[in-house]
């Protein structure tokens, strides 16, 4: 049944028990993203250690897809170098925007591949991307800050 292809067990697990969901103080960058078509929100703290992501912590309200996906991102991207993290974010983005042609590489995206089913529901793609785009935005801001 198609609903299960969207709501995989791992998604509902992350939704019910989200990881890193409580803002750690003193972030390198804090960003606030809103899904304007539905009102879902995420506040995300990015903690950098030089070139490496030390931690991603967040708060937010939203649907299971946006909450679980932010939870998965905050796990997956922790401990990565910036270029690596950005590459993973882009891979994830490609997958969920692929309309179902790209199932994702489990070795790289880990729990992230659970969101491959979202690609078939265009209205939910934005939900799946909310936390990932917030992270990307935070990384870009952190990099620009660095350069100044």
């Amino acid at each position: 049944m198609e609903l299960d292809s969207l709501y995989q067990e791992v998604i509902l697990d992350h939704y019910k028990h989200p990881h890193n969901k409580s803002l750690k103080p003193h972030p390198t960058i804090q960003v606030h993203h809103v899904n304007t078509s539905c009102g879902d929100e995420v506040t995300l703290n990015l903690h950098m250690n030089g070139n490496v992501i030390d931690a991603i912590t967040w708060e937010g309200v939203g649907c299971s897809i946006s909450q679980a996906s932010t939870s998965v991102a905050s796990d997956l991207l922790k401990g990565r170098e910036i270029t690596e993290a950005v590459a993973l974010i882009e891979e994830f983005q490609t997958m969920v925007q692929s309309k179902g042609t790209d199932r994702g590489d489990e070795n790289r995206l880990e729990d992230g591949v659970a969101f491959a089913g979202v690609a078939k529901f265009p209205a939910r793609v934005k939900c799946a991307l909310l936390g990932w785009m917030a992270t990307k935005d935070a990384i870009v801001q952190a990099t620009t800050k660095e350069e100044k």
């Binding site: 049944m1 198609e2 609903l3 969207l6 709501y7 509902l12 078509s37 539905c38 009102g39 879902d40 929100e41 309200v61 939203g62 649907c63 299971s64 897809i65 529901f121 939910r124 939900c127």
Partner: protein, 416 residues
Amino acid sequence: MTINVASIKKDFPIFGRLIRGDNRLVYLDSAATSQKPNSVLDAERDFYTLHNAAAHRGAHQLAEEATELYEGARERVAQFLGATSEEVVFTKSATESINLVAYSLSNAEPGSKFHIAAGDEIVVSEMEHHANLIPWQELCRRTGARLRWFSVNDDGRLDLSNLDAIINKKTRIVAITHQSNVLGTINPLDSIVKAAHAVNALVLLDACQSVPHFKVDVANLGVDFLTFSGHKMLGPTGVGVLWGRQELLDEMPPFLTGGSMIENVTMESATYLAAPKRFEAGVPNMAQAVGLGAAIDYLTNIGLDAIHQHEIDLTRRAIEGLRSISGLTFVGPTDVSMRGGVISFEVKGIHPHDLGQALDQYGIAVRTGHHCAWPLMRRFGAVATTRASFYLYNDLQDVEDLVGGVERARAYFLER
């Protein structure tokens, strides 16, 4: 006064299609946009295949016929509202209609009775659709006027306890919705209109959710402007209406300027025709106006009173059915008096998007989100709600499917 839904459904070809596999379509999103009967699609097509030409711009036979069809549609709208043709302006949507009034007011020069400036006040309510809120925020920004608003009670009714404070000598225009697109609440207008007119303020009624669903007669209402969209009342997309009192429309400055709305034009300046032409610059949305005329014929044929009664019956039944679901709370009144067929609710533990997704999987189309009424969502502490809205083509089976669908979704998300 009962409605034969089975026969009505046959007039709407979209009910022939299947959703997400082999589910029948349970369309409960008419507050966003309605489905279209064949007669509307035929009227549009006939316009294009037999009479298409630029109305009011040619003397050849097709142009004559196009003009007659377009003006005929205007007469139909006027009759439907209990108005005269001169008072009916075709726009592209209710959104444009409201912006038209807001921009026209800010185009008025100092000295004009329409001129708005710092010190003036504009009144809306907390339950407005963004389309009847932001244009007034922007008018305030342009003119220096102040925006004030009625708040909403816990039961989803307008709080009019401070009517005399909100509407006062500084008030210039009161813009209010007839029926909330989220709560289903129908607002009482008498006291608001009386208070507004007592201080010479104008009243604009956002009738997007009322004109399609029950008999609205502008003479009885006593308002000064009334706006709605064709696509929510069986009509095509791309057409809306602004009704306004003729003496106001004839004096107000134009909004969009261009061809067919002018009296005389030099390189330096132009003078403008009387309403409605003054407000219809350019080759008009002729086929859409004609389609709207056919939609009005269809609605009139079934009867607006019967439609309203039918929707109330469905709403009562839906509230009864949903009420028994554990964790479900309504946002909006649960008694059916002064209320239309729009029901918003939340289910504890399930985000509306997830609920809507599950319902979609069963073939049930509802709307989830903030419904373009974000301040109202905040008022009720909700990020989003799930909304079911009914129209003449819905029946009790649709209501049963909704109730059953919510139960099934609840089990899916919360009991596995």
